[in-house]
């Protein structure tokens, strides 16, 4: 299972080790971890709560994984995304790809996070000194995803 949606934290070192264990065909692993920042839009953030759409989330992440595997020759793909209440410094998401070739590993990893950001049904609620606010979608995320439209 290479797509996981969970409340629990994840261990980047263990996930990386699992991606490469016993493999001698992998030339490169690219990994991206997203974390909760203590500031957003100029305001202090004390906590972030991630809501998601159970069922659709897994389905969309699996579709994103399948699309990455269709586009690049990948030995392994991993997507782990958390939901629930998180604090600054906490890990939110991990995407990683292993391939014989570095370009494939880099491009596919960036594709995963760019597409995930515009397709996976997650919503962030930030707690700030001014109260709670739902994070607004960014045009820059749409632009990043648009790079990958075939």
């Amino acid at each position: 299972m290479t797509v996981r949606v969970q409340a629990e934290d994840f261990d980047v070192g263990a996930e990386y080790a699992a991606l490469t264990a016993g493999r001698t065909s992998v030339g490169g692993v690219t990994l991206f971890a997203g974390l909760v920042r203590d500031i957003a839009g100029g305001e202090a953030v004390s906590a972030m709560t991630l809501e998601h759409y159970p069922g659709m989330t897994e389905r969309q992440l699996e579709a994103i994984e399948a699309e990455a595997r269709r586009r690049w020759p990948l030995d392994e793909v991993l997507i782990v995304h958390r939901y629930g209440r998180l604090e600054p410094g906490d890990q939110i998401v991990l995407v990683a790809t292993a391939s014989a070739h570095r370009d494939a590993a880099f491009d596919s990893c960036r594709f995963l996070i760019d597409w995930l950001k515009t397709r996976a049904p997650f919503w962030k609620l930030e707690a700030t000194p001014g109260g709670e606010r739902w994070v607004e979608a960014k045009d820059s995320d749409d632009a990043a995803a648009a790079r990958w439209v075939e």
Binding site: Y53, H81, V93, R119, W123, W134, A137, D141
Partner: protein
Amino acid sequence: MRILYFAWLRTKIGVPAETVELPAEVTTVGALVEWLKTRSERHADALANSKVVKVAVNQEHVPYDHPLSPGDEVALFPPVTGG
């Protein structure tokens, strides 16, 4: 038909889900959103700007001209902000 709401659509409308009986003339996602607006002031307020109301049918993103079928699971939500 079962309708799910997420994020600020859920908090504005006040419920995470509701089951509705659609009039026969409501056959597309766009028509559904328009019809939901008539259910209450909260619905009307939450759904006022359709640019920020996204729809999934059976857990797939769909455009407003997507047709509805009996038994569909329909979800309304703002643009996603995960990752």
